[in-house]
């Protein structure tokens, strides 16, 4: 908590439009620019991967060559030149992995300091294990011992490939198949690193697991791959947080997150995403095309996605749940904020396959400036999904009159026993409320932050405490200059 507060203060103190606008100069080993089979082989070799994984990547790459970039989302961006980017970079010390924080490049630690996340303090105070993904390779993994005692594996994806290849092989691509979509296929070919979590039967993970992602290399597309496996009766809460430095070129980010939730298990996955959204004219932000999906594979399992999206120039993201097990539960709580020229097309998919499955969707969209925000949600009830239930609530808040919000709910029900409820509201930040707050001494920005946080309360409450405070501040920061 204290660490979080420091983060918040550091953020407050920083000046300029984008508070995290700096970049660290760390020499990196890069794959040659461009994308070819050679690039894929280079990445795989760099990581000393087993043959089967190389083949898996190559298969994905060949399929990707024959795919078309989707254009159905309500976002516009210049054509991405996939040959004009680097697909792999790692801090120089890749061969010589650090064993403790002392061995970590001080520049990296400094970067965390600038972000206001003193790693050591954060871990000590919040009791969070941090698998800090810096650029593509994880450089700091801690609290391993406590986790190991409980039998929990929490490591970088590359480490998992080396140390637990059987688990990776068993589950990789089983939730998001190689050919799922254009960006997921691209990721499957060139993914660099990410996180791996395994919680064995009956274990309640003793701490919240947290990964701080950062994109730090110019021109380096980021292709994170995260795989979380929670066995029967086990539980984990996973936190993902992101910030990115100022850049002129648009940066592509196409991550894949796969969650496997077995019988009676529960996964809570929370994201606070604060990538550089671009300047007021829309220059320089991150393109975020992410595939996140959870598979409630076992009966009575539960997956809960909570996300706070404040960043990126273009966001295309639909964390989804496949409710395969009987009585399984999927939840999606989302806050998506768009300002200036940001474009957000986000939502969720709840696929009801098992009997008595239920899902709950609470989406809060806030649009300011000239931004556009679309909620796109699918609730699909398959034939055998007896007594499925869904409750969806989509609330949009508009700030100013140049922004737009759209709600696109798709509902497919092939089983008449399904009970599906949908509520949607659109409101404007009211002048009465602003006046009331300002009369009490809040300036316009504080007032907006307070009111918007109030609007988002139902979702913010779903976040673990460590994240909630930070998220509240981000809400305010990302809406600066949106009124008046």
């Amino acid at each position: 908590m204290v660490a979080t507060r420091e983060t918040v203060e550091a953020v407050d103190e920083a000046v300029g439009k984008y508070k995290y606008g700096f970049s660290t100069d760390i020499e990196s080993e890069k794959a040659p620019k461009g994308l070819s089979e050679d690039t894929v082989r280079f990445i795989s070799a760099k990581k000393n991967e087993p043959e089967w994984l190389l083949e898996w990547r190559l298969d994905a790459f060949r399929r990707w060559l024959n795919m078309e970039e989707p254009d159905w989302a309500k976002v516009n961006y210049p054509k991405i030149d996939y040959q004009d980017a680097y697909y792999y970079s790692a801090p120089k010390s890749d061969d010589d992995r650090p064993k403790s924080l002392d061995e970590i490049d001080p520049k990296i630690l400094e970067t965390y300091d600038k972000l206001g996340i003193p790693l050591v303090e954060q871990m000590a105070l919040a009791g969070i294990a941090v698998d800090a993904v810096f650029d593509s390779v994880s450089v700091a993994t801690t609290f391993k011992e406590r986790l190991a005692e409980a039998g929990v594996i929490f490591c970088s994806f590359s480490e998992a490939v080396q140390d637990h290849p059987e688990l990776v092989r068993q589950y990789l691509g089983t939730v998001v198949p190689v050919t799922d979509n254009y960006f997921a296929t691209l990721n499957s070919a060139v993914f660099s690193d990410g996180s791996f979590v395994y919680v064995p039967k009956g274990v309640r993970c003793p701490m919240e697991l947290s990964t701080y992602f950062r994109i730090n290399e110019a021109d380096t597309g980021q292709f994170e791959r995260t795989l979380i496996i929670v066995e029967d009766g086990a539980y984990v809460s996973y936190l993902e947080g992101c910030t990115a430095p100022m850049r002129d070129e648009h940066q592509l980010h196409a991550a894949v997150v796969e969650l496997v939730c077995l019988e009676d298990a529960e996964i809570k996955y929370s994201t606070v995403q604060n990538w550089y959204p671009g300047d007021e004219d829309g220059n320089g932000g991150i393109y975020n095309f992410v595939t996140k999906r959870g598979d409630c594979r076992g009966d009575n399992s539960k997956i809960s996605w909570t996300q706070v999206e404040t960043g990126s120039a273009v966001t295309w993201k639909y964390p989804s749940c496949v409710l395969r097990g009987d009585n399984s539960v999927g939840e999606f709580y989302s806050i998506a904020i768009s300002n200036n020229l940001q474009q957000v097309d986000s939502g969720t998919k709840m696929i009801h396959l098992g009997k008595n499955t239920s899902s709950r969707i609470i989406s809060k969209g806030i649009s300011a400036g000239r931004s556009s925000s679309t909620y796109r949600g699918l609730v699909s009830v398959h034939k055998k999904a007896e007594d499925a239930r869904n409750f969806t609530q989509c609330d949009s808040l508009l700030i100013g009159d140049r922004c737009s919000a759209h709600t696109v709910p798709y509902i497919e029900s092939k089983n008449p026993s399904a009970i599906l409820e949908h509520e949607a509201t659109t409101s404007k930040l009211s002048e009465d409320q602003l006046f009331y707050c300002r009369q009490r001494g809040l300036d316009e920005e504080e007032a907006v932050a307070l009111l918007v946080n109030g609007f988002c309360r139902d979702v913010l409450q779903q976040l673990p405490m460590e994240f909630a405070v930070e998220a509240q501040k981000l809400v305010g920061i990302s809406l600066e200059g949106s009124v008046g």
Binding site: D432, Y436, Q439, G441, L450, L451, G454, R457
Partner: protein, 249 residues
Amino acid sequence: MLEIKDLHASVDGTPILKGISLTIGDGEIHAIMGPNGSGKSTLSNVLAGRENYMITKGSIIYKGKDLTELSIEERASAGIFLAFQYPTEIPGVTTMTFLKTAVNAQRKARGEDELDAVKFLKLVREKAKELKVEEDMLKRPLNVGFSGGEKKRAETLQMSLLQPSLAVLDETDSGLDIDALKIVADGVNRMRAPDRSMIVITHYQRLLDYIVPDHVHVLAKGKIIRSGGKALAAELEASGYTDLTESAA
């Protein structure tokens, strides 16, 4: 404290206030009475600096300075508090959070240290108890689903935490039963101080039995048509506004 001279103001282009002059000394309580639509709330909004309320003529001097040069929040931090006739609902923001945000925003604006959570909690509990504001109410979103009485008590609670120099109470008595009225009036009376002035706006003289004013003014059609001591309130009660407004017309 406050000197209003020949104030004319329009709301969204419609002239509402038509030449108000009013001088309020330190520690004084002035009651403003008048029929519905006479411009009482307009005056309070103008004092608070609401944006679509345009001053077309006249001046407002507060603590020796031109009030009209300050923004809404600057006025608030300078000690001007408006207890709203119809307090706005703030969904999702608990009363406690709102209070803390407001108190600290003003402290920050004045260059004072912000109160930490513990100190603040202690302060709120103390004030809340005086106004019979239940702990439960502090946890609910501000004004959302509050009864009329709860809203007015919440306004009074804010005033007692913010310790303004000039409080404008806009029909703080409306919608209150006699018990609630007494609680609120007690709260206001506790705040009487030599360096704090108040404008008590009311439609009925009933409130003035509990908050006894130093001066009473009658507002009609955007003008003060009569001023006097507290006896004027009783006189109005007996004769009603119609006589007055007609004789003024």
